[in-house]
Amino acid sequence: MERRDFLKVTVLTGATAALSGCEKPAQQLVRFVPEQDLVPGVAVWKPSLCTLCSAGCGLTVRVMEGEAEVVRKGQLGLIKMGLAKKLEGNPDHPINQGKLCARGQAGLQLTYHPDRVRGPLKRSGPRGSGNFQQITWEEALGEVVSKLQELRSQKQAGALRFLIGRLRGQRRELIEEFLKTVGSSPAMVFDPLDEPVLRQANLLSFGRATMPSFDLAHANYVISFGADFLGTWNSPVAQSIAYGEMRQGHPGSRGKLVQVEQRMSQTGANADEWVPVRPGMDGVLALGLAHVILKEKLRPTRENGETLIAGWQQGLPDYSPEAVEKTAGVAAKRIERLAREMAAHTPAVAMIGGAPLAQTNGLFSALAVNALNALLGSVGTPGGMFFTPRPPHAEHEWGGFAAASDFAGQFLAGKLDDTHVLLLYNANPVFATPAAWKVRDSLERIPFIVSFGSFVDETSAFADLILPDHSPLESWLDDIPESGTTQAVVSLAAPAMLPLHDTRAMPDVLLQIAHQLGGDAVKSLPWQSFDEMLQASISSLRTAETSPPVDPEKFWAKVQEQGGWWSEKMRSDAKQTIASVAFGGSASKQPAFKQPAFRQHGKPESALPQFDGAEHEFPFHFHPYVSQAFLDGALAHLPWMQEMPDALSTVMWGTWIEINPKTAAKLGIEQGDLVEVRSQHGKLQAPALVSPGIAPDVIAMPFGQGHENFSRYASGRGANPMTILAPLQVAETGSLAWAATRVDISKVGRGKLALFAGGLRERPSELEHR
């Protein structure tokens, strides 16, 4: 496709999408003019962004002229327009480099989903029932504006709260600016996939509350404590690409991967060694490894004449391999061998994520792994860990840690009681919090709730108004990925297609509300539409790496054409970048590894995890994990994801619990039996999957299913492990310790288990030879 044509398409769609926020619905339907832009039967590719997980991959969207089935003015019919047909990775994007995971591919179904909210809705039944009636945008916006004006006239602006999911970039800036101008407190963030514990540990260790990046491509040895970095954790596509490089990119040497966990994840299945550690003992094991390295002087313990890690001068006497064997359940000989291996095969890097951080001692474990990395000399060095640099125009990070504990604090302390109006965007806390948090009750007490969701889910079923957002492919998007590359990245994309339904972009609606409210709001949010704001924010990058600055219009066109802006300088000298951004954010200030933090939090007494439920009554550890298909459950409405067999168990269209063959035999449970799982806080039922990849005293179950009200594909399917979790918190962070519940199980009958393959073992006779 010619560049000129591309610009024509973008300018046309951009201009029409820009109008959509402020015009009457009928006028929004400015038709894609196929005669001018699309040759029938010939596809064009346009850049976009994936919004489904925290990685922030770049997309290219295959757009072709087609006929869409739509409802206009209550009349069903066809319209001819450019339609997104297929998603692929953007080859130029530094995060995913042209690759895309299965979840990203299914992002297309967000647009064409039959249960999308097709226009503004007003609640007609009781709260939570999911009964709504259609209204017009004018009525809906009028109602919101009058509520906000009421709050303002009563000087109760603080009674407006905004609850959002994972959101970075200008949409986040817009929301925060909007809340500031109306005098409300900053947005509450609810993102169950975020790792606030790791952010807090990184803040204490390195001075940055940021998710880490790993230079896996140049590592020789990787030890991962529970982080499913090839499946779901952090930036899986970027990490998978780098992992491939580590294994096959250096002729003659093949990096080693050791996975420490209780239930074999996809990453565990790829590992050379799988180390089943006792739940919550990951930090203890990391310090056991450090003990061996210190004792045998395998690594230097002083740097520039200073002790590397204060408190380690005595060589961690409490964590001898024999002592660790007793608590962590890993043989002393194995600990010694692993420690010698990793010290001999530098660069070696350790990472931690998932269940270990969701134990009550998660912060301790994360700090221990950070310290192990410092001892291995792999912080801010090639083959080690580092932090992805921020783009120069957006140094400010919206703190994940503080915000997450804020959410828990607000709900648990009942502080939402003075909230009169709650705005909701991309967050579903009713589904993804334990029943004991009583989120439902808190929502019930809020007089007026407005959701910007594209789907009715458990939380927006409580809304009084639903003002549906465009699908991502129909929206102006931007993002600042946090992890996965050495380059500072700003992703940005124009709509790939025009909206199918009577929806409006959330940022445009907020701008319109701000303008209707008048006063200060207009001054601080002068933009008519969100793309003006995007253009204004990114134009400062014109001068970032080129002088003289690029022409603004040319720069804006280039950013749209390539799908964002990324630093070319940092690509050409990755080594320098890794070193300079390791600590504190800039080369000039490197606070180095903050020793006192570890001394304070790394004491043996904070090392041991606590569990909910007595061992004799609840003999099993309950290990929920992030689903490969649905993540925290936000993707359960996509039929392609329901249809996708789980990578290890091959289960489709349902949930299951994983149980060790020995445990199953002892309890008389066979594959496919319906099993009841009980904790102190509830019970659920799911079919059993007998799997050798799990410790005998652990029961595992994926998150994501068990929705009550989330489209025709997810509602009433499977069970939700959240419902039986204890409301324990990770010490000193307030984050939910979702892996700290103990359970008991029993067989209750025969269940349904849809397996793509016949079972984990193709031939049963294989078992007999063992």
Partner: protein, 201 residues
């Protein structure tokens, strides 16, 4: 000999259609109930939905499509409107496009506004929808034919070679039976490729 092969083929087609018939039944059993649907199958399949359909397809019998608006080609061509004015992309891409009603309204906002068919067109346009034109030509999905218009136009093949005397038609009808024999006779006469993968892929 030829009739024997034809008979055998008929048996094969019929047996395929029987299995397709059952497949269709299971898929329609769990189709969405509350969403209105335009006449598209629930699950894409190149199979014939019923035995009768497969027999019809085999002998090339087709229903005459009923267009939502009785568009007359004759009048438009008499008024010097070229084929490519409406069927965009025919000389540059694989598909001869069908116009969106926006294009129709460029003229019909001013001309012939009082005619009953134009009143129908205007109503669809005002609803924000497009005319759902029905296909006149096209190949059965089971034939796996990928036809590309542009090379034919570039080679100077006139539209009427394959679409008949459209300039004297009112509503377009299928004037030429585009079976494989028809395509091959022309390909042979012009000495161009008759390789299978030229058309079937």
């Amino acid at each position: 000999m030829r009739s024997k092969i034809r008979g055998l083929a008929l048996v094969l087609v019929a047996s395929a259609a029987v299995s397709a018939f059952f497949l269709k039944r299971t898929s329609s059993a769990n189709s969405g109930k509350d969403q209105p649907s335009i006449d598209t199958p629930e699950v894409f399949s190149p199979a014939h939905p019923t035995i009768l359909e497969s027999v019809k397809d085999f002998f090339g019998w087709r229903k005459t499509p009923v267009q939502p608006i009785a568009f007359t080609h004759k009048i438009h061509i008499e008024h010097q409107v070229a084929c490519t004015t409406c069927h965009k992309g025919v000389n540059s891409g694989p598909v001869a496009g069908l116009p969106s009603d926006k294009l129709c309204m460029r003229c019909h906002a001013f001309f012939a506004k009082d005619r009953p068919e134009i009143i129908k067109l205007t109503a669809i346009f005002n609803a924000g929808l497009d005319v759902s034109w029905q296909r006149v030509y096209g190949f059965s999905p089971s034939a796996h034919v990928k036809f590309n218009h542009a090379p034919h136009i570039r080679a100077g093949v006139d539209c009427s070679n394959c679409h008949g005397d459209v300039k004297n038609m009112t509503v377009a009808v299928r004037a030429v039976n585009l079976n494989m024999g028809y395509c091959l006779s022309c390909h042979r006469a012009k000495g161009v490729s008759t390789d299978c993968v030229t058309c079937h892929f």
